[in-house]
Assembly symmetry: C2
Homo-oligomer: 216 residues x 2
C-alpha cells in the first residue's frame, strides 16, 4: 500500500499540511523514501511523483532533508498523541495499557509506509532535527513507562524491569510497520487485539482487561 492509498483511510493522515501542493509533495516524498530510501531519492523524483516541477518543490521545501524532517515530526507527533489519548483515560492501568497498544499498533499497521520512513531514516536527519525527534521518542517512551509504573504501584502488574519492558512493548508495536501487509490475513484491529493480550501477559497483569468495546 502506498502512502497515497493510505490517505484514503478514515482520516487524511497529512491533512494538517497546507497548501495542497505542499501536502501532495509530502505524500510523494513518503512514497519515494519508502520505496528507494532517502539517499537514493532526489527532489526531482519527488516533484515528478507529485506531478510538479523541481522549481515548484523549492517554493515549499528548501531541501530534501526538510521534507524528511516534516514527515518524521508529524509521524512522531501523531503516534505520540495516539499513545497519550489512551494513557490519559480514566481507569485501571491494564485497560489503559491495552488501549494504548491497540491504538499504537493500529497506527503502525494502517500507516506502515509512513512509519517505515519515520523509523528507519532517523540517521538521515540533520543533528538539530534528530535531537528534536529523539525528544519526541523519549516522550512516547515516558507515556508507556508511566502506565506500566502505575500498574506496578497499584498492584495490578508484576514487572521486574520497567524500563526494559517498556522498551520491549514499544519495539513490538513499532515492528508492525516492517512486516504488516495490507493483503495479509490479519487486519490492523486484529493485530492490535492480539498484541494487547500479549502485552498484558508481558506485564504480568493480574486480571484480564475489559473488552475493547466496554473500554470506550
Amino acid at each position: 500500500m502506498s502512502a497515497a492509498e493510505e490517505t484514503t483511510g478514515e482520516d487524511a493522515p497529512w491533512g494538517e499540511v497546507t497548501p495542497e501542493a505542499a501536502r501532495r509533495l509530502l505524500v510523494a516524498a513518503v512514497d519515494a523514501f519508502a520505496e528507494r530510501g532517502y539517499h537514493a531519492t532526489t527532489t526531482r523524483d519527488i516533484a515528478g511523483r507529485a506531478g510538479m516541477s523541481p522549481a515548484a518543490l523549492y517554493i515549499h521545501y528548501k531541501t530534501k532533508e526538510e521534507l524528511l524532517h516534516r514527515i518524521s515530526k508529524l509521524g512522531h507527533e501523531r503516534a505520540l498523541s495516539v499513545l497519550e489519548a489512551e494513557a490519559d483515560r480514566e481507569g485501571a492501568a491494564a485497560d489503559r495499557l491495552a488501549g494504548a497498544v491497540r491504538s499504537f499498533v493500529r497506527w503502525h499497521a494502517e500507516r506502515h509506509t509512513t512509519a517505515r520512513v519515520v523509523q528507519y531514516e532517523l540517521d538521515a536527519l540533520g543533528e538539530e532535527h534528530r535531537t528534536e525527534i529523539v525528544a519526541l521518542r523519549r516522550r512516547s517512551d515516558a507515556v508507556v513507562r508511566r502506565i506500566i509504573g502505575e500498574g506496578v504501584r497499584d498492584g495490578e502488574f508484576d514487572v521486574p524491569d520497567v524500563p526494559g519492558t517498556t522498551l520491549a512493548v514499544l519495539s513490538l508495536c513499532i515492528d508492525v510497520a516492517r512486516w504488516f501487509n495490507a493483503r495479509g490475513s490479519r487486519t490492523p484491529d486484529e493485530v492490535g487485539e492480539l498484541y494487547a493480550g500479549l502485552v498484558l501477559r508481558m506485564v504480568g497483569a493480574r486480571r484480564p482487561p475489559r473488552e475493547p468495546g466496554a473500554a470506550r
Copy 2:
C-alpha cells in the same frame, strides 16, 4: 558499530566467504547498504570501501543485487541455524524457547548492521532470490511455531493463537536490530535474558525456565 567492527567479535561473521577479496567486498557492501541504503549505493562505492577497483569487484560479483542476495542468504541461514540449534536440544519447551530467544536476540544485537540490511532490503532482491529468502524465513517461523506448539501439547504453555504469538515473538527479536546500540546500557546477553523472560510470559509458561547456565 560497522560490519567491519562486527567481524572483530568472537566468530568472524563472514568467514565462509572466500577468497579474502570476496569477503572484504561483502563486508564493505553491508556497511554501505546499512549507511545509505541499497539503491543509493553503487558498486563503485563498495569497491572503494574495500580498497579495490570496480573491475576487481566484477570478478567476484556480477551485480550489486548478487551482493545483496549473498548477504541476505548468509544472514538468514545464520539466524535460522541459531534458532534450530536451540529448538533441537533435549528438554522442556520452556527451556528451548528461552534458549532460542536468547540466541536469536544476541545474534540480532551483535550483528545489527547486517541484520538491518537483511531485514529492510528484502524488496530490492530480484524475484527468484526473494522467493528463496522468503522460504528461509518460513523455516525460522516454523521452528518457533513448533516449540510453542510442543509446549501447548505438553501442557507447559497456554497460547490461544499459536501463529500470531509466533509472529510476535520473532518480531520482538528481529526489531532488536533496529534499536540496539553497542554504546547503550544493555549488552546483547542482557537483552536476550530480558526477552527470554518476557516471551515465556507471552506463552503463559507455567513454571520459570531453568537458569541459562544450567540449561547449557
